[in-house]
């Protein structure tokens, strides 16, 4: 039990990931699949962001130019690297979302439906 409470961020990301995965694989509507994909990617972004979150943390800066002893102690700042990485991952996931929605639009124009089974019927 203690691990569930102290590591709750991991449980949340796993829960979100499973919701996204379920939507992507089990839903019939293409837009719902795309929403699932977005939840899935967001879960991983939350995972990265949460690993460097810290209570009462500050930003990693050197207060006085060049003086090493004036730098903020490592224990007091939040590691900015995962957050910066996730800026890139957000850009990637927005790109993926855009391409997926464009495909949905194209599919709707051609088959006049967004339901997977109806499209499969027309493809037969």
């Amino acid at each position: 039990m203690p691990s569930i409470i102290s590591d709750y961020n991991y449980w949340i990301y796993i829960l979100l990931m499973m919701i996204g995965l379920y939507a992507m694989l089990a839903k019939n509507n293409l837009v719902k699949k795309v929403i699932g994909m977005s939840i899935f990617q967001t879960a991983i972004i939350i995972f990265y962001v949460s690993i460097s979150a810290k209570e009462h943390a500050t930003i990693p800066i050197i207060a006085h130019h060049g003086a090493a002893e004036a730098a903020i102690d490592v224990a007091h700042y939040a590691n900015p690297l995962p957050h910066v990485l996730m800026l890139t991952a957000i850009v990637v996931s927005v790109g993926t979302l855009g391409v997926a929605l464009a495909l949905c639009l194209g599919i709707y124009r051609r088959y006049n439906s967004l339901e997977e089974d109806e499209i499969q019927e027309q493809l037969q």
């Binding site: 990617q41 890139t88 790109g95 493809l123």
Partner: protein
């Protein structure tokens, strides 16, 4: 600041900038798109060849982007393994872009600038994935090449949109698993640089989280390379893609994913960890056996020529994954050699399929009837590709299969050897069936009468030349495969596994 010194970064930057330029000149006149794209890819081929030669002379090259030292900045690392893959990628994409000239004019006349922009961006992504020494940078480039791939495939005929949609869903799951695996490694080590990870990880080998990270990364790359149970997206996506896009995507994307798997195995985790501590070798070789068998059997069931080729790709991925996990030097050598050979063989067969679509308007097996008399040169080149797929010496396909079989014997995994032989047999049946249709059955005339005077009607030169070059290169690489192994591949394969 010579060209040779900057070549590792130029081989990514040249196609990246030319993708931008293709888009801009496309606004002025769409006839300029192809020359710009060819120039860009030619530039990266030159840079890749120079880089490979420098690696062979002086050993591993480390290029620091912006001058930042490795664990902090992004580093490009080129050793013998990815030097070879880089040359393969740029060579294959050069031939594919030349082939695309007539095919695109016929299939997508109104989308020429968009097509070439995406085409060159995809090449950029693949080259970047291969050259980078940073695990997160690899993820970004993986997604760049995947996104352009989805869009290229979606430009195809009727069913391409749905196929591309399925690909985007599965491809995103794959890339996300990879990212998650890298995240687990980052939590444990605080580093994203592959060389740095290799030195930090040995202290953590006993931890479960390292094992989970390996599993996540492997699953991610397997989805991207269509390793058997995760192959669902591949056949439709590659079949219904425009033929020029198929010529780029089918030979390269799966092969680069295999390269990434090998790179992660050797340069992030070590051979000691992946083969001995993780204890996955036996399971994965069995999975590869199942992949080879199912890919071959599913290929037998197809009546569509292009779809048959896509199932053969699924089987070939099984060859490479199995070879890499045999835990023997010969097996790994075979897997690496097969990355090069399979890229060329697949290119040869897909260019041929593209020519058939151009001439006959379809890609069913029946569309091939009577082709030997109408297009003798095309069919000769196709026959070389088919023989290489079967594994007949002296074509390239024989030698990589030979190393894989040696590796299977070394490692005592006879079921893998049996699967390889079975797959060669199936390939022989498949391609002789194709050759029989193309050789003997004349195209049935609708008027009922026999058409006596068959006119030789070859494909346009811009399609024929890449096909002939790739067919010749299959023979040349076959003849020189001993040299390639001793001078290039041996340096990347850890000895004494």
């Amino acid at each position: 600041m010579s060209f040779a010194e900057q070549a590792p970064v130029l081989l990514v930057i040249i196609p990246l900038l030319s993708a931008l330029l293709v888009n801009m000149v496309g606004l002025i006149n769409r006839r300029y798109c192809l020359p710009v794209a060819v120039t860009g890819i030619l530039g990266s081929l030159t840079a890749s060849v120079i880089t490979l030669i420098r690696v062979m002379e002086n050993g591993v090259i480390s290029y620091r982007l912006g001058g930042w030292p490795p664990p902090f900045g992004i580093e490009y690392v080129i050793d013998h393994l990815n030097g070879l893959v880089l040359v393969t990628i740029s060579f294959v994409s050069l031939l594919a872009v030349i082939f695309s000239k007539e095919s695109i004019k016929k299939e997508l006349p109104e989308k020429i600038p968009q097509f070439y922009t995406l085409f060159v961006l995809l090449v950029t992504g693949l080259l970047g994935m291969t050259v980078t020494g940073d695990a997160f940078n690899l993820y970004v480039l993986l997604e760049i090449s995947a996104l352009t791939g989805y869009a290229l495939i979606a430009m195809g005929d009727n069913r391409a949109l749905v196929a591309s949609f399925n690909y985007i869903i599965l491809g995103t799951i794959g890339a996300s698993f990879y990212l998650l695996g890298v995240g687990h490694l980052y939590i444990m080590t605080g580093s994203l640089n592959m060389g740095d990870l290799l030195t930090i990880l040995p202290r953590l080998y006993t931890l479960n989280v390292v094992f989970i990270a390996l599993l996540l990364i492997l699953t991610g790359t397997w989805i991207k390379m269509a390793f058997f149970p995760m192959h669902g997206w591949l056949p439709n996506a590659y079949t219904y893609a425009p033929s020029a896009a198929g010529c780029l995507v089918a030979p390269l994307v799966t092969k680069v994913s295999v390269y990434i798997m090998i790179r992660i195995m050797l340069s992030v985790f070590s051979p000691l960890y992946v083969y001995n501590i993780a204890g996955l070798s036996e399971t994965i070789v069995w999975m590869a056996v199942i992949a080879i068998l199912s890919g071959s059997i599913l290929a037998l069931a197809q009546t569509d020529f292009k779809k048959m080729l896509t199932y053969l790709i699924v089987a070939e991925v099984g060859y490479m994954v199995g070879g890499a996990w045999l835990a023997s030097s010969a097996g790994l050598t075979g897997a690496i050699l097969h990355i090069v050979n399979d890229a060329l063989m697949t290119l040869c067969l897909f260019i041929f399929a593209g020519i058939v679509i151009y001439k006959r308007g379809g890609h069913q097996l029946q569309d091939l009837a009577g082709l030997y008399k109408k297009m003798p040169v095309t069919m000769a080149a196709f026959t070389v590709g088919a023989l290489s797929m079967i594994g007949v010496p002296p074509t390239a396909g024989f030698f990589s299969k030979w190393y894989l079989i040696l590796g299977a014997i070394d490692a005592g995994r006879y079921h893998f050897m049996a699967a390889l032989l079975f797959s060669s047999l199936v390939n022989a049946i498949l391609f002789f069936r194709v050759i029989e249709i193309a050789y003997f059955e004349p195209k049935i005339d609708h008027h009922g009468g026999e058409t006596e005077n068959i006119v030789v009607d070859e494909a346009p030169l811009s399609m024929l030349v890449p096909l002939i070059i790739v067919a010749l290169s299959l023979i040349v690489i076959g003849l020189y495969s001993g040299d390639i192994v001793t001078n290039i591949i041996q340096h990347s394969v850890p000895q004494g596994l």
